[in-house]
């Protein structure tokens, strides 16, 4: 996949005049930063042999609620804290249902997404686009500030990537996640508290979703809950799968999420520069994604033995 991303990158760099300018590259990464951040969370649960289809709902509703509360006059800090707590509660609920009630993750989180979005629309806010407060230093900072010319969105993406990387690579938690993802029964027999581990994964993912939402709200000067109805959650999954994190768990890492994110970013950016029409863009995107998956399955053939084992939930 890394190769494919590289090939596309070189093609665009050669054929397009201003593709290789610092400005465009920054715009490229920025346009997929949210997708990448969500991909980090999704990557984490997928490595642990789970999946979180409620991520986009959690992101949209927790941040929208915060903004709606701030709009009613609550101090922004308090409102944001309430949103964060909401996200954590959603993650806890998903995690507990999956770990202790052993309901398959795909169904639990699918339902959880609907519940979260539905209750948000019914009780937490009236209008489906919530604007950020007019003069909020916090959101202005996230939207405008730069560090060495790199916008905060990308800095945040990089920082989170580093954090998740460190979490997976250097902590016991990380090694346990790989162990459970690779073989849940063996991990349990080995004395790893797998249930608690699963709950923790979904909580972390929910927090990442909330952070992605904050950055999204800052970038667009508001949060549109319509995002939930888009194909975003599948795009997030695509980033993860394209990057090379196997859906059967236990393999991959942050590097894969980054590659997947960049591949999607390069593709979208190049097509916008070429000014290709919407329907053709979708066609090209799907064809390239299909090719990517075919190449992936040739390069990394499915391991018969692990594939036949208790398949996880997907």
């Amino acid at each position: 996949m890394f190769l494919l991303a590289l090939v596309l990158f070189v093609i665009f760099a050669v054929t397009l005049d201003r593709f290789l300018t610092a400005g465009n590259l920054v715009a490229l990464v920025r346009s997929v930063a949210i997708l990448g951040i969500l991909g980090l969370g999704m990557g984490l649960v997928v490595i642990g042999r789970g999946i979180d289809l409620a991520m986009v709902a959690t992101m949209v509703v927790s941040v929208s609620w915060s903004l709606a509360l701030a709009d009613t006059g609550l101090p922004l800090g308090t409102a944001l804290l309430i949103g964060l707590v909401f996200a954590i509660v959603v993650g806890l609920a998903s995690g507990i249902l999956i770990a202790y009630a052993t309901i398959p993750a795909i169904f639990t989180t699918l339902a959880m997404g609907l519940i979260v979005y539905g209750s948000g629309r019914a009780w937490l806010f009236q209008v489906d686009v919530q604007n950020t407060p007019a003069s909020s230093e916090f959101f202005d900072f996230l939207a405008r500030a730069t560090i060495f010319g790199v916008p905060m969105m990308i800095v945040a993406f990089a920082a989170l990537a580093l954090l998740v990387w460190a979490l997976l690579k250097w902590t016991r938690f990380g090694r346990f996640v790989y162990a459970t993802g690779d073989n849940p029964s063996a991990a349990r027999v080995a004395g790893i508290p797998t249930r608690l581990l699963v709950v923790a994964q979904y909580v972390i993912t929910a927090i990442i979703a909330y952070l992605a939402g904050l950055i999204m709200a800052a970038a667009n000067s508001g949060m549109s809950t319509r995002v939930y109805n888009s194909t975003m959650i599948y795009d997030v999954l695509l980033v993860v799968v394209l990057g090379g994190i196997g859906l059967s768990g236990g393999r991959g890492g942050v590097r894969n999420v980054l590659v997947g994110t960049l591949l999607v970013g390069i593709l979208l950016n190049g097509m916008t520069i070429f000014d290709i029409a919407y329907t053709q863009q979708n066609l090209i995107k799907s064809v390239i994604l299909l090719i990517a998956i075919i190449i992936d399955s040739i390069v990394n053939p499915r391991d018969e033995q692990t594939a036949q084992q208790e398949q996880g939930d997907i």
């Binding site: 005049d17 201003r18 300018t21 400005g23 465009n24 715009a27 490229l28 920025r30 346009s31 949210i34 629309r121 009236q126 209008v127 489906d128 686009v129 604007n131 007019a134 939207a143 405008r144 916008p151 999204m216 970038a219 667009n220 000067s221 508001g222 549109s224 809950t225 319509r226 995002v227 109805n229 888009s230 979208l268 950016n269 916008t272 520069i273 000014d275 029409a277 919407y278 329907t279």
Partner: protein
Amino acid sequence: MKWMKLLPAALAVACLATVAHAEEKGLDNHVKRDPYYEGLKGKKVVFVPLAMGFDLTEGWAAIMRKQAADLGYSFEIRDPNWSTDAGTRAITSIIAEKPDLAIIHNPDLQSYARLEQRMVQAGIKVLQVNLEATVPTDYYVGADWVKVGLIEAEALVKKCGTGSGTSGKVAILEGQPTAASNLYELYAYYHVFGQDPAIKIVADQAATYDPAKARAITETVLQQHPDLCGIVGNWDNQDVGAGAAVAAAGKSDQVYIVTSGGGSKTGCDNIEKGLLDLIVSYDVPLQGDALNQAIVQLLLSPAKAGEIKSTYFTPLTLQTKDTISPRSCWTLDQLK
């Protein structure tokens, strides 16, 4: 304040008591009043919006609901929440239910066209609101999208066209590519831009009502064309993302952003924040009144469904930093 409301009643009772044998004076106008109120009572009206929860549909629904409660006909909303599929199912079940009138907000020109014909054949009158289907039905109340597009494009030509001393580069941000608003506006854009040789269309991309997409597209376009002069878009709720990208690039003074919308306070706020420069407003409160008028007319008219086809293009107003005032921007609470 309850006693204030009770006051006239109390006075009336007092008057009746003192002038117990007062003769009736004036006329009760039953010739007009009876058929009007009797004709509307108990009728059934169903509304299928694109989705509830955003300024346009919430605004219309608030106004329509108020009149329905006042005049005693039922008003129900079947919310498909942006899913054309769910909308199709809703309309199919409406055909079986046979209400007197269905109000349809079309996601695109084609999807519901067939179903609307079937509704008319089943004797249900169909009122299309703001986004039309290819097939005309009993009534269309909404913006004339070609005109909206012409006004938008002409405003942009004034800023970026011949003699403006700018690069003349403009970008088009489409909404949903197949929606009525999009196709009619697009015709107007190309028609107007084609007449001025100074105007160069450097991008024409669909943002599908998504501000995040509008932002990403605008960022990329600005990288390719740092001297971009203007952006014309489909909907203020979407193009605020483009405004955010332009503001982030520090080019708010250079890039003129024209769009259209329902004239709500959120739109005005975005003009005030400098994210949008001009909104061609189709004025949701006014459209709500026009809808109410059309509903009454259709419910009372003895004409059969599909017999008479009328159109009312609602008036447009221009909202810029100079023209907006608290009075010209509505909030949902005002309409309820």
